[in-house]
């Protein structure tokens, strides 16, 4: 293909995106678009799967059977989201095995938020309310992302995530109006999860070099800072309703901008956790590797049995 042909294809591709048409797996797309999406969708898939660990951690200890059932259903949803998203990556020509190998070797990233520990029951509430709440801001935007399979997966995922967010908020609400010890547990969880949740939106726009290209391709439609601000505005009010305090002394309503002004994210902490030095980075990766290695004989048995069965069918 000549350079002119590629240029024409790129123009056609961009025209399609500008016209709000979805890009489908068989359509031509620039290599960089494909690479960006494979990276983004696989990171998203890994986040769902690694995210099962801090929450799964509390299934056996949930303090009522109703909460145990809700948590089981929620973590099961996360596994399902992981599956859709690995399939979405496969539509771009990267196999699930390869994608998972990249996670296990530490090459691929997942959301850093899951490198924080779940220390008390209230953390399950905080994760639903804040972490899923922050994730939804991104995911609602991604329902309109330019790559068709990703957008369609997100529509399904968003429906379930909004249920997750509500159940998390409800856990917090019950704790906040419970005994003093319960309220203290809820406030402590909010204190620990607030800033890491804000970090989930990524670097500030000024420090996010790929954002402009992603916006042009309509992979992203809102900037990190815009999404973060919307999340803060919404969540501050939710905290007020249940009587919990956001751990930010600089938080203040700004009547002029009609938004909350707020403090500063500790980017040193953010960079540290991304670099692998968060409280649980090693544990999370070790747990995934252990599950994968212990499951090797199970997957081999399934393949061997399927092959035997196919052979018998052929012989019959």
């Amino acid at each position: 293909m000549s350079m002119t042909d590629v240029k024409n294809l790129e123009e056609l591709f961009q025209a399609k995106i500008d016209a709000e048409l979805k890009i489908e797996p068989k359509d031509w797309m620039p290599d960089a678009y494909r690479r960006t999406l494979v990276r983004q969708i696989s990171q998203h898939a890994h986040s769902e799967v690694v995210g099962m660990l801090p929450e799964g951690n509390w299934i056996t200890r949930a303090p009522s059977l109703k909460r145990k059932a809700i948590l089981l259903a929620k973590v099961q949803d996360e596994a399902g989201h992981g599956l859709y998203l690995y399939s979405a990556v496969e539509t771009m020509g990267t196999s699930r095995e390869q994608t998972i190998d990249d996670l296990l070797s530490g090459k691929a990233k997942y959301s850093s938020i899951f490198n924080y520990p779940t220390l008390t029951w209230a953390d399950i509430g905080a994760i639903g309310w804040l972490v899923d709440g922050a994730a939804i801001m991104n995911q609602v935007m991604l329902c309109r992302t330019s790559y068709g399979p990703y957008a369609r997966a997100m529509v399904r995922i968003c429906k379930e995530e909004s249920f997750h967010q509500r159940q998390g908020y409800e856990i917090m609400a019950v704790l906040a109006k419970g005994s003093p010890a319960q309220k203290e547990m809820a406030q402590d969880a909010l204190n620990r999860w607030w800033w890491p949740s804000l970090m989930m939106f990524g670097p500030t726009d000024a420090n996010s070099p790929h954002s402009a290209q992603s916006m042009k391709w309509k992979i992203k439609r809102q900037s990190n800072d815009e999404l973060r601000q919307t999340f803060i505005d919404r969540t501050v009010q939710q905290a007020e309703v249940i009587g919990l305090t956001i751990p930010d002394p600089d938080l203040k309503w700004n009547a002029e901008t009609k938004h909350y002004d707020w403090g500063t994210i500790d980017w040193t902490e953010f960079n540290n956790v991304v670099a692998g030095n968060g409280p649980c980075n090693k544990e999370r990766l070790a747990a995934r590797n252990k599950a994968h290695n212990n499951g090797a004989w199970v997957r081999e048995a399934a393949v061997a049995y399927a092959a035997k069965k196919a052979k018998r069918k052929q012989a019959a």
Binding site: G56, S64, A79, A304
Partner: protein
Amino acid sequence: MSNALFTYTLRLADDLLILSQRLGEWCGHGPVLEEDIALTNRALDHLGEARNLLTYAGQVEGKGPASAKATAGPRSEDDLAYLRLERQFTNVKLVEQPNGDYAHTIVRSFLFDAYHLPLMQALTKSSDAQLAAIAGKSVKEATYHLRHSSEWLIRFGDGTEESHQRAQAALDNLWTYTGELFESDAVLEEMTKAGIAPDIAAIREAWSKTMDQVLSEATLKRPADAFMMTGGRKGLHSEHMGFILAEMQHVTRAFPGVEW
């Protein structure tokens, strides 16, 4: 009568609650993502059925003689799950056995599912309307559970040499816990006589038939019925039980009397 019905319902509930608790331990650690989903799904089904049964047990107990009551009102599902001690749990020892490798988890479920499905099918005809209704809701799930564990056992038995050995080892290890599923005592006799519980011998026959069918297809050897463990129904458990309950109950017990 209501005492026996309470005990019988509690036994049904405890088997499912403890098995669900064990399966929940797998969450996020399964051999493949699809199995993570299948296991949490099972844990959720068992838990749902256990909750219905525990709630009913509490209601039955509430109507019983005052001496049977531990608290003022009828005990709730959470009172029964979180505030009883080891010796008051009446599940069979099979369900409290550790997850082990995936072969042990699958075999444990297979041995239980092959009992649970015919039990639920028969229980739909119980003279106790509430138990019949709970069983009616469970049959579809129990059918899927048995299919799931049977299919994996066949894959293991007829898969690789390693999977075959692991499945046979799990079967040999866990077989000793199957006798307890079919034990009879005064409680069960009273329930069977009243048309509430099905004839356990018939359930055993159905179970045995499933064993032969599935194990033969899996090319696995059915272990001989040697010594069978007992005690669970009387609250005599393995040492695992205390740890299961410590983990399950500690938050609830640390904050007595609050809402969650």
